[in-house]
């Protein structure tokens, strides 16, 4: 797997590793929280814009619709697939099973963004419309997770929650930038391209530096993460990602986009879903789901998942 070293030796991933090492050495290096939030907004706007501009150029075919449908199905279904494993093998109660499962149904924007940068730098370009799939997959899993957690209890969804699901900040920004990209097209994108294209990889480096710090500190601080759950946090991305790649290949996506669907399925949310869970399932243990999604699954995907699902998608692409 030559892609493994290509991934591992790219600047963004190296900065992630640097952050993790610094945190492991208990260094006091840290990125202010508002800066991290700003970089995350920037990355979402940039990836949305670029996707929209590409779609404006290439047009949308029927694969957009099937990819969106695939994303919806994956996000809504994955929680039901893995919740029983969390309960039985992971020994979690129903509330925590539902909360963790919601994270794995949803997606990590930065994992997608890193994959798109790493793949793109090696001539393996994800289709622009996959950004819409990314946005589509953010929130359905929240509803599935809540359904699992409180099957027989009273009201499932408060008004705040519905708003969180429908008009979640990252969903709005991703889809909004995507739409703006489609409206302005290549020509209108040119004056903002220095910020949103040329600046992209550099900002991603700094953001991943912070993610490395946060992920490692999360692991070091956690009390709730058992060995069983840590194992699941590695098994889930492999399992879900494989389903994603297979699904993507089956509906006729090209290899890079099928790999991207794998990345999306494999990744776990650590922004939209934790906030929704604090709101709707406050009894669930935040330390637990963040340790799994941010502390284990995120690093695994950045370092292993990205080359792995490319490799799988290329094999399938050849096979089909």
């Amino acid at each position: 797997m030559d892609q493994l070293s290509a991934t591992l030796l790219s600047a963004p991933v190296l900065f992630f590793v640097l952050g993790a090492l610094a945190a492991a050495a208990r260094s006091d290096l840290s990125v202010p929280e508002t800066i991290a939030k700003a970089m995350s907004l920037y990355l979402m706007a940039a990836i949305g814009l670029k996707g929209g501009v590409e779609v404006a150029k290439a047009g949308v075919g029927p694969e957009l619709v099937s990819a969106l449908a695939a994303g919806l199905v994956l996000s809504a279904t994955i929680p039901f697939l893995i919740a029983p494993v969390l309960a039985r093998f992971g020994r979690l109660d129903r509330t925590n099973s539902g909360a963790v499962a919601a994270h794995y149904g949803s997606v990590s924007v930065v994992t997608f963004v890193t994959a798109s940068q790493v793949y793109g730098a090696n001539g393996f370009a994800i289709a622009g419309f996959m950004v819409a799939v990314l946005a589509m997959m953010e929130t359905p899993a929240i509803l599935s997770g809540l359904f699992i957690a409180r099957r027989e209890k009273g009201t499932l969804f408060s008004r705040e929650l519905l708003r969180e699901v429908l008009f979640n900040g990252s969903v709005v920004l991703l889809l909004g930038s995507f739409a703006i990209g489609m409206v302005i097209g290549e020509e209108g994108f040119e004056p903002i391209s220095p910020v949103f294209t040329a600046g992209f990889t550099g900002v991603l480096c700094l953001f991943l530096l912070d993610m490395g710090l946060i992920a490692m500190r999360r692991i070091l601080k956690t009390r709730a993460l058992t060995l069983r759950l840590a194992m699941l946090a590695i098994v889930f991305p492999i399992f879900n990602g494989t389903i994603g790649v297979l699904f993507g290949s089956a509906i006729g996506l090209d290899a890079p986009s099928a790999a991207a669907l794998g990345i999306l399925a494999a990744s776990a949310s650590y922004i939209a879903v934790p906030a929704a869970m604090r709101l709707s399932l406050p009894q669930a243990d935040a330390g637990l789901y963040l340790a799994m999604s941010l502390g284990v699954t995120f690093p695994f995907n950045i370092v292993i998942g990205i080359p792995l699902f490319r490799w799988l998608a290329e094999i399938l692409g050849g096979a089909l």
Partner: protein
Amino acid sequence: MIKMTERERIEVLVDAPLAPQLARLALQAGITGHTLIRTDSGQGHSGEWSEDLISGATAKYLFLTVANSESATRFLDSLEPLLESHGLVVLRSIVDVIRPERF
């Protein structure tokens, strides 16, 4: 000398996503005013937390409200069902205020 009157000061340490819910409960108890104060980090039985997370899901606020005794009691009672599930820390003390009709 300025005249001051006793009121109750209620402080609740609360997860950021839940703060609007407290504001609503306070309003229902007849308390029109509150102030949210930023916290940075902390430690308790459920471990350490700090605001270093990009989701903001684990950030906490100190919800401060001053109210007369009846409203304060109503508000505290309405917090009861949330105490366990939301891991709230609730403090009450006595303060003197100016212009008591506001509270």
